[in-house]
Structures are given as structure tokens and as C-alpha cells.
Symmetry: C2
Subunit: 337 residues, 2 copies
């Protein structure tokens, strides 16, 4: 199926279907120079499948991992675009997870002041979350996504078949962000997580549909789009404190959401889903450590943080909380009734 | 006087008046953190005048010159914004010439995915040309402006008084770009160059007015805005071949325009203006050298270049010329009847 993100002159299609990788020309003009950017861990079969359809393409690889979202790789990729004589009419195609989309997207946003960008996410996390919405960026030191742009893709190609090369843990990691969109905007999506067996293609579709609607209403995150940060304030702090070698991004978000599900029966439903997804339990964190990450992350002179809370599946509330109030939440703990 | 660049939600005011520097709060909210970015050659008096009005500001200096439009300075400035804890609500203010505006503007376009940017141009060249229009960029190796963004300022403050610290040569250099806008769009502006004495404030105003109208019609240079490149194809090649130590940017543009003024009486009028402005004569160039710069500059697989020609003051024609045709123009020379 094809969905459209409606953003006036920046509107674009999302193609979601099994074997979409075999006919990328449905939404991508392959008759021009295409830089296929991927990390060195993406299975060659997916790159080759795409390359075979693009007569004038070349592959640029970079080292896997969040550490590649840095000035050095950004500069390196731009210089390769220059070396390959890319022009304003050519395009960049990201093939990979969130890191690849963020990095390649930022390159596309700034090469010759912006050229076409296509995203072909190959992780479930990127498919349901970062591939749609145009947020591209790199990190600087410990500041995530501090340098970047809003550069909407010209198209997104989502092929659930590529998930066959992902581990179960990676798939569950991605499902957390889908569950998140359900909790804040779509109760039926939450219910999909309680059915046997899990209908992953349908979960992807519904999740992207929520994301699409939110982005359409608030492209540049000046208001509503903040709800997508549900679970991320504490989640990012756990990620920072324990490192992505310990927990994956989605696992941290799952932990972070627990603190702000304000209804006990709903929290129990969510905990059952977590169990089904084999998600790790919240560790015995040090409150001061997490608080320092939260204050660092916000980089704000303001004394409050916008926190998203969920009391009923499919709806959200936003509350301005002081750091003191967040500390109290951490003291109370994630499982407290 | 105040002019508005009308670009929907990206509209912004341009304040043009003597001593505008003394009341920048007319268009700039000074009650927030402001990074004042300037090169190390800008007279301290202008910086101080601005800083005195901004209680929560700090000055970041970088080495003067085109060489600072590089990844290293870009990264350096961004890191300083982080060190100063700049937030989304703060702003960057460029104080200086085109290099400063391009570099600081690109920093503003990407810091936290884009924060407010104000431009206070202190050279005549930047006042009449680069400060309006939102083109920001850095260079990579010999490729000028190859990495950047379209990031419209939130306001531009133009104070003709700051020209008092510029050399005559620098002023004449800037006047060339104003003459250029006259030649392509405003005959009366050309006539201003033939009056005694030169009314520089009026020249600035009329020139910016042309630029404003062009940018309003074609913000991202997909069509009309290309006319502002009048004189730049050969001008950039001369700049590349002889270096900015030999000729200034405007001087090269003046040379480049001569090749494409298609009417002999008009060319003679323009040559009289050049004489008045003490502009250098076109040197005995090597055709192959200039051609290599022209082909390099365009970075295009296309075999033609859009060339702007002027037959009558205030109007333009665009012609697609092959490299062979441009070579013929160079063989004919700039002064040939």
C-alpha cells in the first residue's frame, strides 16, 4: 500500500509492502546518479537488490553504530558526493537503520543546499519511527542530534521482508516505538500487540499512520510532535547512563514509558506486552546519574520539561514538570502502583 | 526605512537607516542568549555598540577570510554554541561581510535543527547582496558554497554608517553588485551611478529592493533567482584563477558582466561607471585556465550553462550556452565591439 505524508510542496509517498525492495522505481526515479549510503553491517543482499535497479549508482559504506553520527563521517560522506560529481538533480538513498537515515539525510539536506533524499529503512525501529518525518542530524560529543536539519525525504520504501535478517531482539526493540505511538494516539494499535500471532506488517502500517498524522500537523516540532517523545526523557537518560551496548534504544524507551503510564490496569497490560517482547526490566538506577543526563539532554535554561503522560490507551496529556518533580518520579520508581 | 521580504512564514524585516546599529531592538529581541559571530578584523566599535544592547550576549571571533568558510570553523562555532548552552529559543547574529553571514548562517541553520539568525552586514558588498536571501554555506576544497542551506534570517540590519571604516576599494567592490542588480532589473538604479555625488544609501535601498523581489519569487533558486548570477560565470573563473588576493569578488563580477552586455552604448556607459569606481581592467587571461574553472564551478553533467545577458539596462535574457560557445566569448574578449 502507499501512504502520503501531506506537507504541501514537501509531500511524499511511503510505499509499504512485502518485496517493495524489488520495485523501488515505483516511487524513485532511478535514472540519475544515486548515492546509496549504508553502514558496513547491512546484509549485502539488500544493497545488491537495490543497486541492480539503479544503473547510475554507487555505494558508500561507513562504520556501523551511533558513533558514526559525527562531524567526521558527515564531512567524509559530503566529500564523496563531491568526488562522485553529484549534482543538484541527483539523489541520496539511505539504506539501513536510524543512524544511516539521520546521517545520510543530513548530508542530503546540505549538499548543494539540499538535494533529493530517499529512505529505505532496514530495521523495524527505523521503519516505524525515524524514517518518516524529516528529522536528520548528527551528534556532537554526548549531545544527541544537536546539529541537523528538517529535510523531508522525497519517498520512503518499507519492505517488511528485510526484517528476516534482523534478530528477535532488534525486532522487539522496534516494536516498542510502535507500541508508543499506539499508547499516545491509537488504542487499536495497542490491541494488536495482544493478538496471536503478532501481525507485524499491520503494526508497521498503523504506527506509520499515526506518525504521519502527527508530522503533518507539526512538521518542525513546535507543539504536538513532542508527544512522540513519550518515554524518551527518562529513556534517553537510561540510554546515556548504561550505554547502547547494554540496552537498545527501544528497550530504554519502554522503561521510560512505564514511569508515565498513569493508570494501573493499563500499566499491567503494557507490562504483559513487555513480557511477550522479552524486554529487560528497569535496572536499579542511580537517581543522581539519571537526573544529570536529563538536565544535560534538555539543554534548556528553563526549569521545567514537557512530559508526556498516558492515562488511557490512545490519548496523551502533556505536563510541564520541574526537575524536582521528575526526581520524585524516579524516587517512586517505574513499578510503583 | 523598513522593508519586508515576503516569504509566508519565513518573512522578515530589513531595517535600512543611518545609525540603525544603535537601536537593533527595533527588529531583534535582545532579551535572550545571543551569539555575536564576527571575524577578527571587524572594528571593535561596531561589535561593542551591538553588545552593549544585548545583556545576555557573547562574542565569537574567527579568522578573517574566505578560508574560514570550512568544516573546521563550522564545527568550531557549533561547539561554542553548545558550550554556551544555547537553546532553541536563542539566536545567532552575524556581524561582518559575506563570509561571516554564510558561515554563521549555516551554523544557525543546523544548530538544534535551526535557530533564529540575524544578519548585520558591515561591508557594502554584504549589505547589497548576500545578507538578504537566506543562502548560507561553506566551501569544500575549491568548491564554493557546496555545503549549506537555505535559511532565511529573522531580520537584517543595514547601517550605512558602518561603511565609514571600509576602504574606498571595498566600497567600490560592493557597488558592483548593486550595479549588477540595476543592469538586470532596475534602470533607475543604473542611472544613480551616473549622478554626482553617489547617493550610496539610495543605491543600497534600491539594490536590496530588487534582490528582495527576486528572492520572493524564487526563494530556492529554481528559476528567476539565477539572474543574480549575471557576470558570475566568468567572474568566478577569474576569481579562481587569480585568487582573492589579486581581485575582490565585485571586481571579478564587474569583469564578468562585460562579456555579456550585448549593447555597445550600454557597455560604454558601464565602462564609464567602472572608471569612476576605479575598477581594474580585465587582465590578459589564459582561456584554458578560465574554462577549467568554469567547468569545475558548474559541477554539472549537463553540457550547457545558463548565461544571463543584458541588452538594455533593467532587463535580462537567459541563454543556454555550450562550453564551446563560452570559449568563443572568451576568445572574443570583454572589450570587443
Amino acid at each position: 500500500m502507499k501512504m502520503t505524508v501531506n506537507l504541501k510542496d514537501r509531500s511524499y509517498p511511503i510505499l509499504i509492502e512485502s518485496d517493495a525492495l524489488s520495485h523501488i522505481d515505483t516511487i524513485l526515479d532511478v535514472n540519475r546518479k544515486l548515492a546509496l549510503i549504508a553502514d558496513d553491517a547491512i546484509p549485502k543482499q539488500w544493497i545488491q537488490k537495490i543497486k541492480d535497479q539503479c544503473p547510475n549508482s554507487f555505494v558508500i559504506r561507513f562504520p556501523q553504530g551511533e558513533a558514526s553520527k559525527c562531524f567526521l563521517q558527515y564531512e567524509n560522506l559530503l566529500k564523496q558526493c563531491i568526488d562522485y560529481d553529484m549534482t543538484r538533480k541527483d539523489a541520496i538513498v539511505a539504506i539501513g537503520g536510524g543512524v544511516t537515515g539521520d546521517l545520510a539525510g543530513f548530508v542530503a539536506s546540505s549538499y548543494m543546499r539540499g538535494i533529493d533524499f530517499y529512505n529505505i529503512p532496514t530495521t523495524l525501529l527505523a521503519q516505524v519511527d525515524s524514517s518518516v518525518g524529516g528529522k536528520v542530524a548528527i551528534d556532537v560529543a554526548s549531545y544527541k542530534n544537536i546539529v541537523g536539519a528538517f529535510h523531508q525525504p522525497k519517498g520512503v520504501i518499507i519492505d517488511p521482508d528485510v526484517l528476516s535478517t534482523l534478530s528477535q531482539r532488534q525486532i522487539h526493540n522496534g516494536l516498542v516505538e510502535a507500541l508508543k505511538t499506539g499508547l499516545i494516539q491509537d488504542e487499536k494499535l495497542v490491541e494488536l500487540f495482544e493478538q496471536e500471532p503478532l501481525d507485524i506488517p499491520q503494526i508497521i502500517e498503523r504506527s506509520i499512520n499515526v506518525k504521519r498524522q502527527v508530522v503533518e500537523q507539526d512538521e518542525k516540532e513546535s507543539g504536538l510532535r513532542k508527544i512522540l517523545n513519550f518515554g524518551h526523557t527518562i529513556g534517553h537518560a537510561i540510554e546515556g547512563a548504561y550505554g547502547l551496548d547494554t540496552y537498545l534504544h527501544g528497550e530504554c524507551v519502554a522503561m521510560g514509558m512505564l514511569f508515565f503510564i498513569e493508570d494501573q490496569p493499563l500499566k499491567e497490560r503494557v507490562l504483559s506486552i513487555y513480557k511477550r517482547l522479552d524486554l529487560p526490566k528497569v535496572p536499579d538506577y542511580d537517581i543522581d546519574t539519571l537526573m544529570s543526563y536529563i538536565q544535560h539532554d534538555k539543554k534548556s535554561s528553563a526549569q521545567t520539561v514537557s512530559i508526556v503522560k498516558v492515562r488511557q490507551a490512545g490519548t496523551f496529556e502533556i505536563e510541564e514538570m520541574t526537575y524536582e518533580q521528575i526526581r520524585n518520579v524516579l524516587e517512586r520508581g517505574p513499578y510503583e502502583k
